[in-house]
């Protein structure tokens, strides 16, 4: 190798090896910081990020945090109503997006061919939807659900807006799962005189269920992390909601509110951020485990 080439290779190797170090370093810095500051928020006597005193005393702080209501605009107290609101928003989101998503995915994979004009239009439209910024979804949700349909700031409006956001993701992964079912299975069903309904419900959907579950879980993860679409659709109220038409604050909005608009709220912001990260890690792990298990089932012995 000429010296020139050697230099080039060394440069490339240095670049290739130092990049993951830098990236991993930054990411770990973030994770460790959130973990430590989040954890410290629960330890009695530790100063919080802004140094304004302690709150929780004694053991069981985490449970208390998760099960009590916020006090003094969230500087003190817990996040129980926030968790309830978050759960309700997610439920509305899934209840709205799951049936439509699966049905649309079935349409795209089973009813129309690759080049069918309407199918292409739907796919294209969904690709566009996937690129729309979340704040624009917030504007849309505000205009449609809060104003036009009169839901005002409510969990229903927030959940439906999130459903629109999550739909492209769900449809894409469901469609992939349906396509992964081998054609020979559909041929077998057809040759046995199965109606289309039976072929879909008895043969295709059961075999695609693993992939669909993974897509669903990833959709939940995406929805959990979402903030901008919710700030003016589901609102800011930090009390426990009594109906779907009540306004409710999601976990990510709570973090934003505490860190930006509540002086001295950093401590609980970090605690809430820790809770959010833990939830997301669980969800991710669940999705990974399901993927591994599902893929295993597809390895057929012949």
């Amino acid at each position: 190798m000429t010296r020139h080439k050697l230099g080039w290779n060394v440069l490339m190797a240095v670049g290739a090896w130092s990049t993951p170090v830098i990236v991993a370093g930054l990411f770990l810095w973030l994770l460790v910081d959130v973990a430590i500051r989040g954890w410290l928020a629960f330890v009695p006597g530790s100063p919080d990020a802004s140094g304004t005193g302690t709150w929780l005393q004694g053991p069981g702080q985490i449970v208390q945090f998760l099960t009590s209501a916020p006090l003094r605009a969230g500087r003190a107290g817990g996040i129980a109503p926030i968790l309830v609101s978050t759960g309700l928003i997610l439920s509305v989101c899934l209840a709205a997006s799951f049936p439509i998503g699966i049905a649309a995915a079935l349409f795209l994979s089973e009813v129309v061919s690759e080049h069918h004009r309407f199918g292409r239009f739907v796919r294209c439209s969904l690709d566009v939807l996937a690129g729309v910024p979340s704040i624009v979804f917030g504007l849309f949700g505000n205009a449609l659900f809060c104003r036009l349909l009169g839901f005002r700031f409510s969990i229903l409006a927030g959940g439906l807006t999130l459903a629109c956001m999550v739909l492209p993701l769900l449809i894409r992964s469901a469609e992939e799962s349906f396509r992964a079912v081998p054609i020979s299975q559909r041929q077998a069903a057809a040759a046995l005189g199965f109606s289309r309904c039976s072929t879909l419900f008895r043969v295709v959907i059961p075999q695609a269920s693993g992939g669909i579950a993974v897509g669903l879980i990833l959709g939940i993860g995406r929805a959990l992390a979402e903030t901008a679409a919710l700030i003016f659709t589901s609102g800011y109220v930090d009390r426990t909601p009594t109906s779907l038409f009540d306004s409710g604050r999601s976990l990510s909005i709570h973090i934003y509110e505490l860190s930006m608009n509540v002086p001295g709220g950093n401590r609980n912001a970090y605690a809430s951020a820790l809770v959010l990260i833990v939830l997301l890690v669980i969800i991710n792990a669940l999705a990974q485990w399901l993927t591994a298990r599902f893929l295993q089932r597809q390895i057929l012995p012949i």
Partner: protein, 290 residues
């Protein structure tokens, strides 16, 4: 024909659902346009670029609606972010594909995927509490264009890295084998064979990373400083389109609210342009004709 009428009903339901899903993006455009009409008709398009500044609530002289500083803020923040994320992301992909031994590459890829799932508020929180004071020590205030660029680049890096990796992984093995047979060194293979072969996928990765940067809201709001002036240095605070909407929508009324929808349209057009450009480049992840 009992069976077949069930089938017919099912097909209708499936078709209807797909139609509904397909109409959403159209609805978004329609609603954005409808809600911005008041601003466009009362304020007029030209004032969005010629007014003195952006002070919509300034009742004294009917409010000022110059979007330019805000648009410039978005452009600068996004451009800066992609300038940092592009080399880091592509090199990450090169590392995973060509340098990482055994499982290390997979582990790194999984870590990057995890990074993609971190919520923007958490990035923003960390940026606000940790990075802003660091930047402030160099040059106050901490909330500035620089901080926004740094945080944004961390956020879009996973997108760039994952899409670049997909592009590099789909380079046909024959090319790499041919390069090896010709005695190319690893660096040469990467730079002269793999990257050019994957160039449209890589360009797509960058464009889609840019899309994410343009659309990012929460993290930017928390660290950019929110002053609507064209920044004269990296350390000046700045404001983006997304931050404007997020901060003012809560209290905006009438024409101000409508003007925010105009911001939304500008955002959509920008994103549409970028996505359109990436479509034009042809291959996208998963659609590569191998």
């Amino acid at each position: 024909m009992f069976r077949s009428s069930n089938d017919q009903r099912l097909t209708t339901f499936l078709c209807g659902s797909a139609t509904m899903a397909g109409l959403i993006s159209l609805l978004i455009v329609v609603f954005l346009v409808l809600e911005s009409i008041p601003a466009l008709s009362h304020i007029g398009l030209s004032r969005f670029v010629t007014d003195a500044s952006w002070h919509p609530a300034d009742v004294a002289d009917q409010g000022a609606f110059n979007l330019l500083p805000i648009v410039v803020g978005t452009l600068l923040a996004s451009a800066g972010a992609i300038l940092i994320a592009a080399p880091l992301g592509i090199l990450s992909a090169i590392f995973i594909q060509f340098y990482a031994p055994g499982r290390l590459g997979r582990v790194y890829l999984q870590m990057v995927e995890l990074m993609a799932g971190v919520p923007s508020v958490v990035f923003g929180l960390w940026g606000l509490i940790v990075i802003v004071p660091l930047v402030a020590r160099v040059h106050p205030p901490g909330q500035s264009l620089l901080t926004a660029v740094l945080i944004l680049s961390m956020m879009i890096l996973p997108t760039v890295a994952m899409l670049s990796h997909a592009a590099l992984a789909s380079v046909p093995r024959e090319f790499l084998i041919a390069a090896a047979a010709l005695g190319f060194s690893r660096g040469t293979t990467i730079v002269c064979v793999a990257v050019p072969a994957a160039r449209s996928g890589l360009a797509t990765a960058l464009l889609l990373g840019l899309v994410r940067a343009v659309g990012e809201t929460m993290a930017v709001v928390m660290v950019c400083g929110n002053v609507t002036r064209i920044p004269s240095s990296l350390f000046d605070p700045v404001r983006t389109l997304t931050a404007t909407v997020a901060l003012e929508m809560g209290y905006a009324r009438g024409d101000h609210r409508s003007a925010l929808f105009v911001c939304g349209i500008v955002l959509l057009m920008g994103v549409a342009g970028l996505v359109g450009a990436s479509e034009l480049l042809g291959s996208r992840r998963g659609h590569d004709p191998a």
